[in-house]
């Protein structure tokens, strides 16, 4: 488009104020947009949040009231919450989710960044083949792997029908976590970020006597901190909310994660919406609070990783 190019040049040569005056698009009104735009966006925003408000509202309603349609409960009660906490394994599911998502996140952060660092900063025979092999795993959908993973777990006796001791928990957690302990996407992402760090930094550190692991740990990691943070957030959220694999692999009620536990409320006690809404609130609240606090970082991280890939 030649015209676009010439007008761009023209726009550059003119004094900027003229341009702004001529087009009138950069006026700095404090609202920025017309009032109806705010109204539309707010209406859309309501559609996003009303289901959550309805969830909270239902969770505070006593059983006879849950089919009424007032947003404010007439006789608010905590019964649903005490039922969820005392009569179901919800606290255990919460702990299970926290532990499995936490360990998985640490593992992904460490191994993916280490592999990404090596693939970006070392030269060795077979490097290209290894990188392509790791990348190729991105093309395989999880759905294709769950059946072999399941058979692998059965053959290795990792599937627990009941939980009696700490050993069963350890094996159970392992079976939930093992497929996700590293991710090809994370390796790819970290490699992209490590490549943008100049080699001189590492060479200088080598001369100062920093060990090879020290190069990764003390020089590499701190310089890609935003990317690691983004990777951690994604991994944690993904595992906290994961459903298909934990559903397949957890037989014992005590080993379930929150999403799997919630999904079984329906079959166990007929769709118990009072329990479901209370537990959904308990599952949603921590994530929403964390998101509200770190909104800026999380959104920047998503944009960052989304664009890099």
């Amino acid at each position: 488009m030649a015209t676009a190019a010439t007008t761009t040049a023209a726009a550059r040569t003119r004094p900027r104020t003229d341009v702004e005056a001529a087009i009138g698009m950069r006026r700095r009104h404090w609202l920025g947009g017309p009032w109806w735009l705010y109204l539309l966006l707010l209406l859309g925003g309501l559609c996003m949040i009303v289901p959550f408000l309805w969830m909270l509202s239902t969770s505070f309603k006593p059983n006879p009231e849950i089919y009424t349609t007032s947003l404010i409960p007439q006789h608010p009660t905590l019964t649903n919450y005490t039922n969820v906490l005392e009569k179901t394994h919800f606290p255990r599911w919460f702990l299970n989710s926290l532990i499995t998502a936490g360990i998985t996140t640490l593992s992904v952060a460490f191994f993916d960044s280490l592999a990404g660092f090596v693939l970006a900063k070392y030269n060795f025979p077979g490097k290209r083949a290894i990188f392509i092999m790791i990348l190729s795993t991105l093309m395989v959908p999880t759905e294709m792997l769950v059946l072999p993973w399941y058979l692998m777990s059965v053959n290795n006796h990792w599937v627990r029908g009941d939980v009696t001791g700490i050993g069963d928990y350890a094996v159970g957690y392992w079976s939930i976590m093992f497929p996700g302990l590293m991710s090809g996407f994370g390796v790819f992402l970290m490699r992209q970020f490590f490549e943008s760090i100049p080699d001189d930094l590492f060479d200088a550190a080598r001369i100062d006597g920093v060990s090879e692991f020290g190069l990764y740990w003390r020089i590499g990691l701190p310089s890609v901190r935003p990317a690691i943070a983004a990777l951690c957030i994604f991994t944690f959220l993904g595992n906290w909310n994961a459903f298909l694999w934990p559903l397949i692999i957890t037989n014992a009620d005590k080993l379930r994660t929150i999403p799997v536990g919630i999904s079984f409320f329906s079959s166990d006690v007929g769709s118990a919406y009072d329990l479901i809404m209370a537990s959904a609130s308990l599952a949603t609240l921590p994530v929403v609070i964390v998101f509200a606090i770190f909104q800026r970082q999380i959104i920047r991280g998503i944009a960052l990783t989304g664009l890099k890939s």
Partner: protein, 295 residues
């Protein structure tokens, strides 16, 4: 033992890569090979012997009416959900970019579903969709007829799609906002100097420059929709009513874990079909995205 400096670094590289290599080979690559192998057998984990069927599972797929229904449904999830999601989220992103006040708050609202568990969200919507639920109450008060939503064979698939679009909006808005930030203001200034209307600025500046972002989001959307499972499993009763919402992955789950005797070989054949579809889309994406854009 004397090693050159270069060789010593090779050794370090291999040492660092050892555990990741073992992981990717045993947990990602070998199971993928196993899935292909599985798809050639009649496989019930309780049996000790498994009959080799060759491509029998694949030819059975051609005559399986539930599979055909699941395939059609999955395509419909893609066909309805992806374009609507892209258009709505682009509109929201363009709107958010123009407003100066409450932008963070509005963005927070749109992004909220994305950080919450899809299982929880699905159950909330199932509750809203009830025959005597909130949505029907609103319709009633506005003077409309009640809708069947998830209980109706004609509306259930659309109802699931609405939840999927609603859930994914936040992510798409964020990516679109980042894409819009990347378009230099001078392009708009130049277009405006040429007398372009707002629509023309959108059509000839925003849209072409946003093309890579749109392709990226479309591909992610298509792949995610092809893998749709969680919403359906939690919103509906196992793909009902009458399989009107069953997806490929849900059918695989039913065959492998809810059928006696389990038909894992047959299920694996369906996952291979899914794999091929995703592979084709990825390859198309790579050729589209590596094409150079010139303006």
């Amino acid at each position: 033992m004397h090693l050159t400096l270069a060789k010593r670094r090779w050794l370090w590289a291999y040492a660092f890569l050892l555990i990741p290599l073992v992981f990717f080979l045993t947990i990602r690559i070998w199971p993928a090979v196993q899935a292909f192998k599985l798809s050639l057998y009649d496989y019930n984990p309780l049996d000790t012997e498994h009959t080799f069927r060759g491509l029998g599972n694949y030819s059975d797929l051609l005559h399986d009416t539930i599979f055909r229904r699941a395939l059609l449904n999955t395509f419909l999830y893609v066909l309805y959900g992806v374009p609507v999601g892209l258009i709505v989220s682009l509109a929201i992103a363009l709107g958010l970019k123009r407003v100066n006040q409450f932008r963070g708050f509005l963005r927070f609202l749109y992004f909220l579903p994305y950080v919450t568990a899809l299982v929880a969200v699905s159950w909330i919507w199932r509750w809203l969709y009830q025959p005597n639920g909130l949505l029907n109450n609103i319709l009633h008060n506005l003077g409309f007829r009640d809708l069947g939503f998830l209980g109706s064979t004609g509306q259930a698939l659309i109802s699931v799609t609405v939840v999927t679009v609603w859930y994914g909006l936040g992510f798409q808005v964020i990516i679109f906002l980042a894409g819009l930030e990347g378009i230099p203001d001078v392009f708009y200034e130049a277009a405006a100097l040429d007398g372009a209307t707002a629509w023309q600025r959108f059509r000839f500046v925003t849209l072409p420059l946003l093309n890579p972002t749109i392709v990226f989001l479309a591909v992610i959307g298509v792949i995610q929709s092809l893998q749709i499972f969680t919403q359906i499993r939690n919103l509906t009763t196992n793909g009902g009513p009458l399989n009107s919402t069953t997806s490929l992955v849900l059918y695989v789950y039913q065959l492998s874990f809810q059928t006696l005797p389990a038909r894992m070989g047959y299920g694996a054949a369906i996952t291979v079909v899914l794999f091929v579809m995703i592979l084709v889309i990825t390859v198309v994406q790579l050729t589209v995205l590596t094409r150079r854009y010139e303006y």
